[in-house]
């Protein structure tokens, strides 16, 4: 008798797992739908045109130069698609970054930028824009990207380095992250007020976060790192689960939390740096996505991680779509759209949470 109860329960659990997997599938399908939809917005081409172009490109079908099909293919593939693809990748990457950071810190309000990564990236980018000084001695457009990338790594390394001395507790890490980002932001401010107004505007625009004007050349590095990190996070997601019950419990269940946290933070630094150095700082997607996902499928990171990837991609590509739809009114970058969508959701999450405890 007792055995059958157990078997029933096992079956119930498996059924729950099946539900989670179908949720992930739905998200992925939605992402493709929105990709095709965004490709057709603001152009004379339709939904299926976008599909056909992608299909043709993948299958290697070519058209004679300057024929209507060629123009269609050229326009959609080179103008419409790169920003869309980048928003998919960035959304996926930032969302998984948020999932990892929240579990690592045991803090549901952590986001991928918690260790101050965004302020470092800003400093890198702004110094490249304003003074032409880059951390990578490359100039021009790539100079900004590479400088932002290297700048983004500095705060993460500092946090890891400092916590080796003062104890590796999540609270200390968050506080040090806050302090470092204050410092970097003050340097950014310094640079921005001492420069001329045009450079100030350029630097300001960089900080907001935008995917417009990106091309296929921006994609490979970002895609590689996001795919790699996604797989890595998937593989350690069972360990991330242990972190959610606190450090002592995690340790007693056989997880070397100090090294694990350091490794994850390193991975996150590269992941987030590779995204925001191309897009600028896009907020909220990394913070909110994991919450939405957990609300629907529960807290097991083995499912939250892939679901966040799909959901994050969906949210950001939708934000991009909204940004495109608003084009007739004005050029509203994706970062601003995300703030308008994200801030109310964030407020809702806070007011809904029962105790609102341990948030800092």
């Amino acid at each position: 008798m007792e055995k059958t109860v157990g078997a029933d329960a096992v079956w119930a659990y498996r059924k729950d797992v099946a539900k989670r997997i179908s949720f992930i599938t739905i998200c992925i399908v939605s992402v493709f739908f929105v990709i095709l939809l965004s490709g057709s917005i603001g152009t004379t081409y339709g939904f299926w045109d976008v599909y056909e172009v992608i299909y043709e490109r993948i299958m290697g079908i070519t058209h004679p130069t300057a024929s209507p099909e060629w123009w269609r293919s050229h326009y959609i593939w080179n103008n419409s698609l790169p920003p869309i693809i980048i928003s998919v990748i960035a959304g996926a990457g930032l969302a998984i970054g948020g999932t990892v950071m929240q579990s690592l810190m045991g803090n549901p309000l952590a986001d991928p930028y918690t260790t101050g990564i965004s302020s470092g990236a800003s400093l890198g980018a702004v110094s490249a824009i304003v003074t032409g000084f880059t951390f990578s001695s490359i100039s021009g457009e790539m100079g900004i990207v590479s400088s932002a990338f290297l700048g983004a790594l500095i705060p993460a390394f500092l946090v890891i380095f400092l916590t080796r001395f003062v104890g590796n507790s999540p609270t200390t890490m968050i506080l040090i992250g806050v302090a470092i980002s204050y410092f970097f932001n003050s340097m950014v401010t310094y640079l921005m007020i001492t420069t001329d107004t045009d450079k100030l505007q350029e630097a300001f625009l960089w900080q907001i976060g935008s995917v417009s004007g990106t091309g296929w050349g921006d994609i490979p590095l970002m895609l590689t790192i996001v795919v790699f990190s996604g797989i890595a996070v998937g593989l350690v997601s069972n360990k991330l689960n242990l972190m959610m019950l606190g450090d002592k419990s995690a340790k007693s269940m056989g997880l070397d939390i100090e090294n694990f946290r350091t490794l994850c933070l390193l991975l996150l630094a590269f992941l987030v740096a590779s995204i925001i150095s191309y897009t600028g700082i896009i907020g909220f997607v990394g913070l909110i996505t994991p919450h939405v996902v957990r609300f629907i499928i529960g807290g097991d990171n083995r499912f939250v991680a892939p679901a966040s990837v799909a959901m994050g991609a969906f949210i950001l590509v939708s934000a991009n779509l909204i940004s495109n739809l608003l084009m007739p009114i004005g050029d509203i970058p994706i970062g601003v759209v995300m703030s308008f969508v994200g801030a109310p959701i964030f407020l809702y999450l806070i007011l809904r949470s029962k105790a609102g405890r341990d948030m800092f």
Binding site: A9, N107, N241, S252, G254, G299
Partner: protein, 277 residues
Amino acid sequence: MKIDIKEMGFGYTATPVLKGINLAIGGNQLVSILGPNGVGKSTLIHCINKILSPKEGVVLLNDVDVSEITIKDLAKEIGYVPYSTTTSFPLSVVDTVLMGRHPHSKWKTTDEDLQKVYETLDLLGIEHLAMRSFNQLSAGQHQKVMLARGLVQEPKVLLLDEPTANLDIKHQMEVARIMRDLAHEKGITVIMISHDINIAATYSDNVILMYEGSIFAVGTPHEVITKENIKKVYGVESEVVDFRGKPHLVLIDEKLKNLELPKDSYVSMRAQETAAR
């Protein structure tokens, strides 16, 4: 399983929390650690399973220094249930207990893992909570879920930090009895911190009494729980009586002067309410 602690000391700063700890614990039994607040009971437990590393001395598990065992291997041998666990994430009870399988299983959850989880939940009488959210449970239920998580880890030594703290007397007795039965039947050494001397005396095979960062006395409940020891360690007067072969502590407050009921004081059920019953 045997645990040998030799000349162990620990301190967060220069002031030691633990000093000169010498202990040998072995066999399938329930051992209770007693002592006043802040005496280093939790610290001692944390030093055994490497949550903290001792400043001096060694902890041996089956003659192997624990500092040389990887933390994952150690987790297969020693389970631990912290005093209180909170999480800000929406985890179900099954998710929480499943984590205890981590040292034994790989990424995927097998049917065997699930089977063990449900058996343990059943053993503790909380199977009906399986799909509930961990955060929505009462403090007592939390305690039991964490106990289940420690048990599915299938350790040979189980360390418990006040497992009966939030429970009512029925559940206190139940948990203590399950711990004792587990120790005797499944061959586990269970070491628990307790503040309830009578529960410890009734269910434990042996008792450790700590005082000011050191071991004050060890032995059977009868040997350790004596009038003199309680006076010395806790600074309270008591009478220890023998009840069914176990010591039983009766506290005496010498400073309590007036035992008579003050005049005009009363507590009574109101007539209407009494009638309603």
